[in-house]
């Protein structure tokens, strides 16, 4: 009865008393027991649900293991934090708990969120629910996999540049990266502080809007959050808005033919729905790779400096190879003599990328592009690509660098591997309402070509 139901649908069932909170939680715990050994998507499962109040609505959700959850182990998938029990709650999880959510468990990820495949996790990779030999994507791979296989009705992930959208695309679910500053980073284990954005992964657009409304907004514990009003994202889905949608060859070059085919299929549907498609020109994403590599590594080396094993966690010998590599490069670009050549230059090009988006967003409301250049790769292939994460995230990095909002949703399957294809919409700063509205229109018109429902069906009760 519950299989594939969205969060909003579950809440209605509980409200009508068709099902109790406890039955819902037990249902997901049972599914986790049945399937998670295969998928390795959860690092910690929270079995301590107590139904002390039958009349209070409780909704289950999975949370990426880099959000501090008071009393629940939080590792960021690194052995450095193998036994770390946070003494405080992150703002995102606090707001969810206050809104009557129950944290079902903490999901696997690339260690410290460094990667795009969950293969850098110190606790083993997460398998793609569509093909167990493939990667679920990353770094929020566990969060994408639990939603795709319905081991949670929704999940929270975090994105620095692609870490929500890319696993959402590879695992066939919806993933939203909000505008930088829209959702608080307090209690999120920092990767690159000037990029990090928490966001939801869900089965429906409505659920994404529903969760965003709860977690968004100013937080006095994160000075980079902005005081913009939080609109009713759910209510605004239903307005039939018309948009000017930009498309650019820069985001189609080098992209798999099947993915580009899905892209053009959607372009036709959008025209049919009355939207205007407009060709635009953007800076090549190859510069975004360099900007991102420099700034992110610099911020990583400074953020990870605090892990010295004195106040908590293990000492620095416990860092994995990817973290060490990033710390080394970050230290290099920040060190004496190189700061101007690399870090400062990258921050200047970051300004150019922001200006580039500002210019384009004067002509169009939304930009449509593929989320990833290829569908899910086999586990292990990551070693063949020296810049693996950067190549997989090349289409995600520009939006992350500029801090604008973007959403990925599934649109078709590859013929070769029967794997999900992800497309994305990028919107202006703080215009989540628009990209959600258009995603909702696409969902109503096409049901994402049935991808999400097919994914859930692979994991029967």
């Amino acid at each position: 009865m519950l299989l594939g139901k969205s969060l909003v649908e579950i809440s209605k069932l509980i409200e009508k008393k068709d099902i109790s909170n406890k039955e819902v939680i037990d249902y997901f715990l049972k599914r986790i027991d049945k399937y998670d050994k295969k998928l390795n998507a959860y690092l910690t499962v929270n079995r301590y649900y107590k139904s002390d109040n039958f009349y209070k609505m409780i909704l289950p959700i999975a949370v990426k293991d880099n959000f501090c959850t008071q009393g629940i182990k939080t590792t960021a998938s690194s052995k450095v934090l193998k036994n770390f029990i946070p003494p405080y709650e992150s703002t995102v999880t606090k707001r969810l708990i206050d809104a009557s959510f129950f944290i079902l468990g903490k999901t696997n990820m690339d260690a410290w969120a460094h990667g795009s495949s969950t293969e850098t996790s110190d606790f083993g990779p997460t398998k793609n629910p569509w093909d167990l030999l493939c990667s679920a994507g990353g770094s929020s791979g566990g969060s994408a996999a639990v939603v795709s296989s319905y081991l949670a009705p929704a999940a929270i992930g975090s994105e620095t540049a692609g870490s929500i959208r890319q696993p959402a695309a590879w695992s066939g679910v919806i993933g939203l990266k909000p505008t930088y500053g829209r959702v608080s980073r307090y209690g999120l284990i920092a990767m690159a502080s000037s990029f990090d954005c928490p966001g939801p992964l869900t089965l429906t657009t409505e659920d994404t809007a529903f969760i965003l409304k709860i977690i968004a907004g100013k937080d006095k514990f994160d000075a980079t959050t902005t005081p913009n009003e939080v609109p009713d994202y759910v209510a605004s889905l239903k307005k039939k808005k018309q948009f000017i949608i930009g498309v650019t060859d820069e985001y189609l070059n080098g992209v798999d033919e099947e993915i580009n085919k899905s892209f053009y299929q959607l372009v036709k549907i959008l025209e049919k729905l009355g939207h205007q498609i407009k060709k635009i020109k953007l800076l090549s994403p190859k510069y975004s790779i360099s900007v991102y590599t420099i700034i992110q590594r610099a911020e990583v080396s400074s953020n990870l400096a605090r892990y010295d094993g004195i106040r908590y966690g293990n000492n620095r010998t416990f860092f994995g190879s990817e973290a060490k590599r990033r710390i080394m490069l970050g230290t290099y670009v920040l060190s004496y003599g190189y700061y101007d050549a690399y870090y400062k230059k990258a921050q200047k090009v970051r300004t150019l990328i922001i200006e580039d988006f500002k210019k384009v967003f004067k002509e169009v409301d939304i930009i449509l592009a593929p989320t990833t250049p290829i569908a899910a790769l086999k586990l292990g292939e990551f070693d063949k690509y020296p810049f693996f994460g950067e190549i997989m995230d090349v289409l995600n990095e520009p939006a992350a660098i500029a801090g604008i909002c973007a959403i990925s949703f599934p649109f078709g399957l590859t013929k070769k591997g029967n794997l999900p294809i992800g497309l994305q919409l990028m919107g202006r700063w703080f215009e989540e309402e628009n990209i959600l509205n258009l995603t909702y229109q696409i969902e109503k018109e096409t049901d994402f070509l049935g991808v999400i429902k097919k994914g859930v069906k692979k994991y029967p009760d």
Partner: protein, 101 residues
């Protein structure tokens, strides 16, 4: 693409600054990977940035201060502060000695 070169001493100096201990194999591996990455990021020099200000923050806020005399809700109890350490003595963290007597 110009190939960037790093010496073994460069790599060891970076590791020292970052508080990392590397074995011989790692030194070689990171030296090669760092050289590759540094060569790639040189492509930023194709773009002119003479009169461009560097970005420090992508949004519009300026000067955000904590409100004076507000109760600090984030303060942890002593028990919470020490709950994750193995090195504690008399409500202090024990660290390695850095001065000789």
């Amino acid at each position: 693409m110009k190939k960037s070169k790093l010496s073994k001493d460069d790599v060891l100096r970076l590791a020292h600054l970052a508080g990392l201990t590397l074995n011989e194999k790692e030194i070689e591996k990171y030296k090669k990977q760092l050289e590759e990455t540094i060569s790639y990021i040189e492509n930023l020099n194709e773009l002119k940035t003479d009169n461009i200000l560097p970005t420090s923050y992508v949004n519009f806020l300026t000067n955000i201060f904590f409100i004076d005399e507000e109760k600090n809700e984030r303060a942890l109890t002593l028990e919470e502060v020490f709950q994750n350490t193995k090195n504690k003595k008399n409500n202090c963290f024990r660290v390695k000695k850095i001065f000789d007597e």
